[in-house]
Amino acid sequence: MMMCKEATRLMSLKQDRPLTFQERVSLRLHLSMCSACRECDRQFTLLHEAGKRFGPEHDPEQDDDGR
């Protein structure tokens, strides 16, 4: 049975790449039983959304040595 720490790894991973079927199933199972992890999952999603609003327009300076 997956524990909270491992569940948070999958919650984080989910923000960066699609989970595999197996990862999705085990995360969903854990979340269905763990309210603390459901909150953590919402928080990671909120951080992801916050980042999008926080990091604004593309800065041209980024390109000057980017190749």
């Binding site: 909270c4 960066d16 928080q43 951080l47 916050a50 980042g51 999008k52 604004p56 300076e61 040595d65």
Partner: protein, 152 residues
């Protein structure tokens, strides 16, 4: 934290945000340039046993009672609170350098982990580990700085 003390001179969120984002961006760019000059990404010093993370969990892998995540309410409501952004900024700045760099490239600049790894010359798996830790640190920091202060 200096980012909060200086806040008074900034009218509204957008000026403040731009200012903090500017600082972060320079931190990141500087680090990346230094890394390019030296020809390699600095070793990930927080790789071995991360206390700040381990303290959130029991040996068994369950949450510590003191670290159990609580509700932050609706994201939209949080985003409209200036205090949320101040805490977010302060927590970003408090992240260890590697975590701040990778998290910023991923979440603030929207790069894929694949691109980040190519840019920094690290393995993608490493990237995911760093991001996992960065997010756990951020969530703990924000929860302490934001929720606890609001109810105090």
């Amino acid at each position: 934290m200096s980012a909060i003390e200086k806040n008074e001179s900034f009218a509204g969120r957008s000026g403040y945000e731009t200012w903090v984002f500017g600082i972060l961006k320079y931190k990141i760019l500087d680090a990346m340039r230094a890394q390019k000059r030296h020809g390699r990404w600095q070793p990930l010093e927080e790789e071995e046993g991360d206390d700040a993370i381990d303290r959130q969990f029991q040996q068994s892998g369950r949450w510590q009672a003191s670290a159990r995540p609580s509700s932050w309410g609706e994201p939209e409501a949080a985003f409209e609170t200036e205090h949320f952004w101040q805490v977010f900024d302060a927590c970003m700045i408090a992240l260890p350098d590697n975590a701040a760099r990778v998290f910023s490239l991923r979440e603030l600049m929207g790069l894929s982990t694949d691109d980040i790894c190519k840019e920094l010359g690290i393995k993608e798996n490493n990237c995911w580990v760093i991001l996992h830790r960065a997010r756990l640190r951020l969530r703990a920091c924000i929860e302490q700085g934001w929720l606890k202060e609001e109810t105090a």
